[in-house]
């Protein structure tokens, strides 16, 4: 027994010591200061994950709690002159306990209300990963850790592996090797730049690539095509026609002698061109599809016909892997470049284009990469994507927070979804109207207000107004006006913050004791200030 008491005394002396108090207070303050800088630079969620809701920060708070507790216990039995001190410390202990109750059992989320649609799903801060088997009517949910960094999960369910979770990510371009090289499915990364602007653009002809074969950059249209088409674009023919075989990627740019003009039964002009030993007929300026023997449009034909003239009125850049062509309005000619090794100058606003990487052995795709988020002017401008890596049948792929992914496993459809955890309310709210007043003569919001109907099941319904500093309280939950948004249809929707706080009473009690104790200890306990030469009693 004595040993236990001695041991307790040591613990009490250690944690109740004033020096321990100074150290733990400063450690807590330094962590908070670090947190505010992280919050400023990387955003609220990153700061929460890294500091405020992390285990080590909980440890520091627990250290504070122990310091306060033992500093009180070590000063017992009760001494009258320390009455204020006891009240302060009792207040702090109550405050800590109340906060712990909130942390363990409280709910803090948001409810998005679209106009006139019932809503009951509270969105919480934590993330979860759902694996759904619609044919079996089954769903498996994986809780995702609330950390700031990439985390290996090592979760497996019926051959589906959930490998890792990235709480903050940014899609970056990666290359996926192809099994069989095919030059007609090439991909190229270019740098397009002038004195004021520079941008990397990646274009691909591979069907599985996340990148397209066209891109619009302001008024400039960029087209990516098989290299075999370069010659046809470079030639300056009178009609500017190009016949293209989609199967072989071959093409021809017929001159005046190659073209025969006919008429169809309705008297419309038909053009006939001989190419690859076949006679191709088509209706000029009507359709890129050729005509069959019955003079009808043939959708199954691999041939396509188009006129370069349609690309002469506005800026169009044609890229063919390592070569390029465009129409120059100054020379009134099509210009082609078989090599872009040193880059080529374009005839628009001093733009130049260079090849950065050209590949036929791999196709480009977007892969989420862990990225520390960056906040600018209150907005997260980088790293606001979350992603989970999944492995099914030795095939790895990413599911990110923007949309669910469907996958076929041995003929069975499986869907994967990364989203926020939800909590369903036992009642519904409907937004009847959202009203925003502005300051006179400006567009600055002066107040916003949600008019809602609360449907309580058998208990009927009631109407409420929720606005700043005027929340709706119903049963255990309180609903606060938090934000608003404009729907595609026009009217405004509203976001209410939803809160259930079982520790509220204790926090209020603790706060009261803390303030009351501080006044008692520091102000009411009047100790005279002795002037120089006066002796202390």
């Amino acid at each position: 027994m004595n040993t236990i008491i001695q041991y307790y005394r040591k613990v009490e002396l250690f944690f109740g010591n004033l020096k321990f108090a100074v150290v733990i207070i400063l450690l807590f303050a330094a962590s908070l200061a670090y947190g505010t800088f992280m919050e400023s630079y990387h955003g609220t969620e990153y700061a929460n994950r890294l500091i405020y809701k992390s285990l080590w920060f909980m440890g520091i708070q627990f250290g504070m709690f122990l310091s306060i507790l033992f500093a009180t216990l070590i000063r017992l039995p009760f001494k009258k002159h320390l009455a204020g001190f006891y009240v302060i410390h009792a207040g702090l202990i109550t405050l800590f306990l109340g906060s712990y109750v909130t942390y363990q059992s409280g709910v803090d989320g948001s409810l998005t209300l679209n106009p006139n649609l019932p809503a009951r799903e509270i969105q919480l801060n934590e993330d979860e990963f759902k694996i759904q088997f619609p044919s079996k009517g089954k769903e498996v949910t994986v809780s995702l850790p609330y950390g700031a960094f990439e985390k290996n999960l090592g979760y497996e369910y019926e051959g589906i592996k959930v490998n890792k979770f990235l709480p903050f990510a940014e899609n970056e371009q990666g290359w996926v090797p192809v099994k069989v090289e095919d030059s007609s499915q090439s991909s190229t990364k270019y740098l397009l730049y002038n004195d004021n602007f520079s941008e990397n653009i990646t274009l691909s002809l591979h069907p599985q690539s996340d990148f397209n074969n066209t891109q619009q950059l302001g008024p400039l249209n960029v087209h990516y095509m098989p290299s075999s088409l370069l010659n046809c674009f470079g030639e300056n023919t009178k009609d500017g026609l190009i016949i293209w075989n989609g199967e072989t990627s071959g093409c021809m740019s017929p001159g005046p002698n190659d073209i025969k003009k006919l008429k169809n039964v309705s008297g419309r002009e038909v053009i006939e061109v001989s190419y690859e030993g076949r006679k191709i007929r088509f209706l000029p300026n009507m359709s890129p599809l050729p005509l069959d023997d019955k003079m009808e449009l043939n959708e199954s034909s691999p041939f396509r016909v188009f006129s370069k003239k349609m690309f002469e009125t506005s800026p169009h850049l044609f890229l063919f892997g390592k070569s390029a062509a465009f129409y120059n309005k100054e020379t009134l000619k099509w210009e082609s470049f078989a090599s872009m090794e040193k880059g080529i100058a374009l005839p628009w606003m001093g733009f130049k284009v260079n090849v950065i990487e050209h590949r036929t052995d791999a196709y480009p795709t977007m892969i989420p990469v862990y990225t520390k988020p960056i906040q600018d002017n209150g907005q997260i401008i980088k790293g606001n994507l979350k992603a989970v890596e999944v492995e099914v049948n030795d095939q790895r792929f990413w599911v990110n927070s923007t949309q669910p992914v469907a996958f076929n496993q041995n003929g069975e459809r499986i869907t994967f979804e990364l989203s926020k955890k939800q909590l369903l309310l036992p009642y519904e709210l409907v937004l009847d109207q959202f009203k925003m007043d502005t300051d006179p003569g400006t567009n600055n919001p002066a107040s916003y207000e949600s008019f809602v109907t609360l449907f309580k099941g058998n208990e009927g319904s009631t109407k409420h107004r929720v606005f700043m500093n005027n929340p709706l309280k119903y049963k255990d939950f309180t609903f606060y006006q938090a934000s608003y948004f404009q729907t595609n249809e026009g009217p405004y929707g509203s976001v209410l913050s939803v809160n259930f706080d079982p520790g509220r009473f204790w926090k209020y009690l603790g706060s009261f004791l803390l303030v009351f104790g501080s006044i008692w200890h520091f102000v009411l306990r009047k100790k005279p200030i002795l002037k120089p030469g006066e002796a202390r009693a």
Binding site: A29, T36, N196, D439, N469, R504, Y508, V515, L530
Partner: protein
Amino acid sequence: MLKYIFIFLMMSGSLFAQSSLNFCTNELETFPTQSGGREKPLYVLATETIKYITGESKVGEFSSTEAFCKLSLKAFGMPLDLPIKVKVDHVDVRKALGLNSNETHIPINNLVEKKAIIPQELAKIKENNSFKKELNKVQGRLQTYEAIISARAWSIPITQDGKIQFVPLSEFITEARISSAQGKGSNPIQYLFQEAKENYLKAKGDKYLLELKYYKWNFFTWALLLSIIGIMLFIVTKNKIPGAIVTGLSIALQLTAMSMRVMISGRAPITNMYETVMFSGFGALIISIVIFFMRKEIVFVVAGLAFNVLSLMMMKFANGMLDEGISPLVPVLRDNFWLSTHVTTVILSYAALALSWVLSNSLLIRARFKNVSSGDYRYEVDLIYTSIKFGVVLLAAGVILGGVWADYSWGRFWGWDPKETWSLIVLLIYMAILHGKYTTWIPAHRFVPLVAGAFMSVMMAWFGVNYILASGLHSYGFSEGGAVFLGSFFAVQIFVLILCGKRSTAAA
């Protein structure tokens, strides 16, 4: 269209063009207008706008009201050319606009010629740095100028059935209105303005003119002078009565000015940086007097006056950092009860901690350059300790009240918001010092420099959160007013600590 009105006026025999110089007089200062969501006298709008564009409250020989009026009349084809020079603070922006690095202003005509440079430069910048911010500011100043000269910045009250609607000057002066006003006064334009003002006064009275008096009377400047005189009287004369009278007068002037501000804005005067500086200076003086009555020590009042002077000087001279204007509140702050209790308590706590800062620095410096007996040193440490105790109690109450307000408004007692977190950091730092004072770690000679240095945490919570953290670290630029001020404050305080810290040890 507007130019046709001018031609119409000329043709209809109006003397508007010739009389424009007579029309744009300081008599227009009392004309009611609306801007930024509030109704105010034209003087306030004109001064705010001209100051925003040029950094000055006059344009050459013309007052802000005269200049604003004349510029507005340019929309009607008036051939006026005022020497407007637009303020450019950032050296790189000056260079981009073809100015020398020491030229602080660009003539408006030059800026109009070069305005295409601004979007070109903006397109080159990807991150939100101080250069980009200043470019945006210059663009904003140019746009404001363009709004004035197209008669869109000045709104005129139109009264119909007792209801007032404000319309831009460009819409107010119409052919129909001018025709209807022909022959009704010395000239139709003057008649229309006179009528608009009279109708407004009939409908809403002249309460808006209080703002004109508030700005014209300059009570805070007079209070600054009185507070300086008060300090001198307390230091120079043994009789404390003259000092007390002057201090009382300073308090009365500040209280009157703050009351006027409350009446104008309809809320507690603690909603932006300017007002918190104003209220903290006043609060420090009041708290020092309260402590004086409790502790019978005049040093507190001198320290209170010293901080009061610093605050009033910031209000007077730090216009780049503190915006004097009265603006409508964001929705969440529109709760007078919580605003008056929580913010007031926190600012008063900063004021009390400011007293400890003044006293500790004063002791540090005196101990460095003069002999301070150990008895005097200990006595002054007690004074500093007293100020901290008031500060800590008020701050604890303020932080808790903030939590209660947050719980009431947003449903969470604590959300780790940077402002609330920094107020907690301040409390923790002072608590660490108070706890450490009872250990061997912080004897008197360490207590004083620590208290002096701890006020840097108050400055961080007060200014740093708004001027450094709110803009994000990567956009952090020392060319911006608030950051320059804070950086200078930290540098000076650290310099004082390095210079005087060692001597303080010896003195103790």
